[in-house]
Structure formats: structure tokens, C-alpha cells
Symmetry: C2
Subunit: 341 residues, 2 copies
């Protein structure tokens, strides 16, 4: 196996000591790949200018396996937090980045993850401004966990709040559901399909920015249904906004292979995690314009309406099935797919 510049084939406890080995790892991997004016100061923190309302979100990523079709834990950690900041109606600007590495992680894998972080951050237009690296003993972690905390400027025309959701709002999504969860599950279960199921992991901030630029406060609410899937997130929103939500099975965008994989594993795609999907609640008068805008963007080509907000059955989500039935969609109770993000 080729050694990295640092001369180590694997991360060991010394890399988390705070001493020379930590510094070498930072210099030879992290600063080399991610280096920018702020990180290069090598202080324990960074100073940036910030004016106005700031959206902040944090997430720890524990996905397993750490490499999967369509991505890896590094880019997922960037996309996940960038998207959470965007869902606040904000333009993500900066990220912090903290690793908890299990002793023995292949240095090449670590380098590849840091490189993915860099690419995803560049694509999302955010800067990594401060970080941390800890190492735990073999068997006390699982390869690598990553925390990112992101902050961004709230868009001047945005007014995203659960209280703005009202009867008649249309609920649109930017693409097919359940891609990420089923990509991970296929890896874990070793399922083979005609073509691989690929995670939808991507940054959504570009598309959200265009929506806010164009439609301002007619965008009432944004949310990316990650863990728990679309069903859990819509159920939460129905409770928090004290509205009813109706969704239509025939409108739910679902790739054939993903549907097949779900069926094979006995999973309901409504509860499966997404990483590049968001639901947007809009004023009904702009529905068509929003869909048109979304469909012109790479992350929204398959945008479609999935449901609407009603004043009946408040606090509940009702699914209209393809065969004409109706059922209440409950949120996920326990665990369906652990460590999906």
C-alpha cells in the first residue's frame, strides 16, 4: 500500500494527541487540502465578519459504510449541513469541520474524505474556517464520524417559518424520494440491480437561493426530509403548523429500482432517508412557476407536486393511495435504517 506524504498508512492515537503528529496530520492532509486564509492562521478558532440575521445548524454524520454509491461521509457532511442552513432561508457561507477518527483508519481513505469535503464545499460555495481532529481507540468508534456546523446569511426576502404554512399551500419536492437510504441499504445488503442505486446527496443551496430570489416570502416553508423520510418530516410539520396535509401516492416520485429495492427489503419509501431532497410549501398561485424554475436546475429536474395543506384532519398527514383509498401516515416510531447519515 502506498504511504501518504505523512508517512503513515493509518491514523493512530498519536494523530489525536495535540502534539507533533497532530500538527503533521493537519499540515500534510487537512491544511494542504482545505487550506485557506482563515485555516492557515492555525489558531483554535477563526474570526469572520458577519452582519445581520444568521442561520446556524449542526449535524454529526455517522453513516455506515463511509463510502457508498453517489458519495461518501465527507461530502455528505458538507451537503447535510449546507442544506439545513439553506432550509432556514439562508445562504450558507461558512462551515466548521470536526473529525472523530477510529484508530486504524486507512490514511488513503482519510485523505479521500478530506478531498471530498473540499470539493463539496467548493461546489456549495462555503468555506471551512475551523476544525478539530480527535482519535479514539480501535473498537471505540467506527472508522470516522464527522460533525459540521454551518452558518449563513438569512436571505433578505426569506420568511421561512412553520407558522407561515396555510391552507391551500402546495407541497412540492425537487426529485425522487428514498434514493439515499436505498443506496446505503443496497451497499449493506449487497443487493445488485441492473444499474446501481445512487445516493441523491447534493447541495440544495443554489436552488433554494434561486427560489428565494424569485419568489421571496411566497415560499412559506422549506425542509429536507433526511432521517425518517418524507413521512416523518411531513407528520412533524402537520403537528407543529397545526394543519392537515394530504399527499397523493400516484404523485410521489420514485425510481423503479428504488421501489423494487424497498419492496425486496420490506421498507416503505416514505420513511426512507433522502440527502438531496427538499419539500417546499408554496402559495398556490406560484406552484407552476416554482416547478418550472426547479425543473431547469440540475437538482430539480424531476420536481413535482406531492401534496397540499388542508384545514381538515389538523395535525395529521393523509395519503390518498393509487387505488383510491385513504390512510393516515404516521411518523416513524422506532428505527428503520440506523446510521443512514
Amino acid at each position: 500500500m502506498k504511504k501518504t506524504d505523512s508517512g503513515f498508512e493509518a491514523i493512530n492515537l498519536g494523530h489525536g494527541s495535540g502534539g507533533v503528529m497532530t500538527r503533521d496530520l493537519l499540515d500534510q492532509v487537512i491544511f494542504r487540502i482545505l487550506g485557506n486564509e482563515l485555516l492557515d492562521k492555525k489558531h483554535d478558532g477563526s474570526v469572520v465578519q458577519f452582519e445581520g440575521p444568521m442561520a446556524v445548524s449542526t449535524d454529526s454524520f455517522v453513516v455506515s459504510p463511509i463510502f457508498f454509491k453517489g458519495g461518501n461521509i465527507g461530502e455528505l457532511a458538507v451537503h447535510g449541513t449546507v442544506n439545513d442552513v439553506a432550509m432556514c432561508g439562508a445562504v450558507p457561507k461558512y462551515l466548521s469541520l470536526a473529525f472523530i477518527v477510529e484508530e486504524g483508519l486507512d490514511m488513503k481513505e482519510f485523505v479521500e474524505i478530506v478531498e471530498s469535503v473540499k470539493r463539496a464545499a467548493d461546489k456549495s460555495g462555503v468555506q471551512i474556517i475551523t476544525g478539530d481532529t480527535k482519535v479514539v481507540e480501535r473498537g471505540k468508534g467506527d472508522k470516522i464520524f464527522i460533525n459540521t456546523t454551518g452558518f449563513g446569511e438569512v436571505h433578505p426576502r426569506a420568511n421561512i417559518a412553520v407558522k407561515n404554512i396555510r391552507e391551500g399551500d402546495k407541497i412540492l419536492v425537487n426529485g425522487p424520494i428514498a434514493q439515499h437510504g436505498m443506496a446505503i441499504m443496497s451497499e449493506r445488503e449487497g443487493l445488485e440491480f441492473e444499474s446501481a442505486i445512487v445516493s441523491d446527496s447534493t447541495n440544495l443551496n443554489d436552488l433554494v437561493l434561486k427560489l428565494l430570489d424569485e419568489f421571496g416570502d411566497k415560499i412559506h416553508f422549506l425542509r429536507d426530509p433526511t432521517r425518517g423520510g418524507l413521512a416523518s418530516v411531513l407528520s412533524e410539520i402537520a403537528v407543529d403548523a397545526k394543519v392537515g396535509i394530504e399527499i397523493f401516492e400516484e404523485q410521489l416520485p420514485l425510481e423503479k429500482q428504488v421501489a423494487a429495492a424497498c419492496e425486496m427489503l420490506g421498507l416503505d419509501p416514505l420513511y426512507v432517508a433522502n440527502e438531496g431532497l427538499f419539500a417546499v410549501f408554496v402559495d398556490p398561485e406560484i406552484e407552476q412557476e416554482v416547478l418550472e424554475l426547479m425543473r431547469h436546475e440540475s437538482s430539480g429536474q424531476l420536481a413535482t407536486r406531492v401534496g397540499e395543506v388542508t384545514s381538515t384532519h389538523r395535525g395529521k398527514v393523509v395519503l390518498h393511495s393509487e387505488i383510491g383509498g385513504k390512510r393516515i401516515v404516521t411518523p416513524l416510531i422506532g428505527e428503520q435504517l440506523p446510521r443512514i447519515c
Copy 2:
């Protein structure tokens, strides 16, 4: 064992699902204990107002054991990041808080940790504004890891930068060294002393604020020597600032019991982690005033000078030993005490 309100004696994978169990854990433990106007919105992120230069720092905490004399991982996670923000010359305002819990963690311990987070945040004057909870399978983590990311306003009179360190600067510390590391090691090794060695874990932002209010840019540099201890941090600073640093063994504040424990375990206290200690580089003309101010504060009662900056032996730290010798203090190479913070 008494069940908690949530009805579960231990954290399980369902608590990390993003579904109903996650929501219950949030409502019954996290929001109940930490709840504030921002967290109560239960969005994936929070929006706060911010104006001007902002200091940001992130740290993941993996200390083992998670409870130790003088603290636990919860308060450590608050103090550590609050202090890193303060070391940038800033007043910490907000924290994010992300848990990675190993399946099986006793719910009472989790509650106790969250309560400690709350107390430490209140004492430090910071608000927890957003968070995340993930659960990993038994054997894929180690009870609990915590990431905090902190944000603070840079003090208007602060100018903390390694380039401001100059020849003649005095290096002061606020108290005895090696307390935290030896408190953890005593727990791990089951050492018994006449009285227990207690971690120095505390928030330093109050004291730093007083120093900046009083002395402004005559405070040239601040740094808290956590992992790697005072030796590693001063060595890094000597390199980064391109100055020489001299420290005097007889001036190093070290409690008798800590010295005894270090000797017993063959550890050099200069390399042992601290969690409530900081080194401040000051203009020599204010040395006495700074020491006096520090000694009036609870976290600085044993403040003392430990060294000074010279123009000789640039990039190196030289220790003057009690018996009149001199030796170069090298930074820690590998790992001395894994998972000390």
C-alpha cells in the same frame, strides 16, 4: 433502576431515527432541560442576530471516562469551546450541541450530562441554539461523544494574534498545570491520594473579558493548553511567532498531589492536558496589574508568571530547571494520554 420520564432506561437506536422516539427524547430530555426561545422552534437550525467580527471554534469531546472528579463530558464540552472562543479575544454568545450516543447509554447518565451542559452554559453566559442527536450501535462508539461549536463577538479592544507576540512579553498562567489530565488518569488507573485530584475544567471567558476590558491590545496573545499540555502549546507558539520562549521550572505552578501522580505514572506535567488553564502573553509593563486582576478572580487565584519571550533561540522553548540547568522543551511527539478531552 428508576425509569426516566421518557420511559426508557437506556438510549437505543430508535432514539436516533429521526422519528417519534427521537422527538420524544428531544422533548422529554433535551428541550425540557435546555429549552429556550430558539431551540423551541424545533427547526433544523436557528436564526440569531449577529453584527461585526465573529469568532468561531469547534471541538469534539471524546473524554473517557465520561464522569470524572471535577466534571463530566457535558460541562467539558461547553467549557472547552467557550474557552477556545474566548482565546480569540471574543465574548462567547452561542453554542451548537451535537451528540453521538452509543446504544445502551444509561438514560440517567444522558440526562445528567445534558443537565451539566445547561449549568455550564448558564455559568458561561452562552445559549445553546441548535443541536443534533445520533445513535450508533453498541461497540461502534463509546458511551457518548459531544461536539460543540461556539460563536462569539470579538471584543472591540482585542487584538489577539500570534504576530503581536514580541520580545520581552511576559507569559502568565491563571493557575496550576496538569490538573485535568491527572484527574482523568487517576480515575483510569484507580489511584488514591489523600484528597482527590480534581479537574480544572471551567469557563475562562469571564476572566478573559475582564482582561480585555482593562488592558485591551496590551494583551498580545491567549491560548489554553489542553491536549499536549503547556509544553506543546508553547512550542507551537514559538514556531508560529518566530520567537524564543523561556520558562522557569521553579515558577511552574504544580500541586503536590499532581506532581506525585505524574511521578508515579512517569508523566511530565508540562505535557499533561489542562481544561481551565490559559497562558496570556502581555506587555511587560502590565505584568503586575494583570496578575493582580487575575488573582482577584475565582479562576485566577493562583495566577503566576511562568516565562517570557526572547529574541534568542527562535522557534524553541527553553526550560530553566530548578537546579540551574537549561534544556529545550520539545513538543509532544506521539500520544501520552489518549482521550483526555
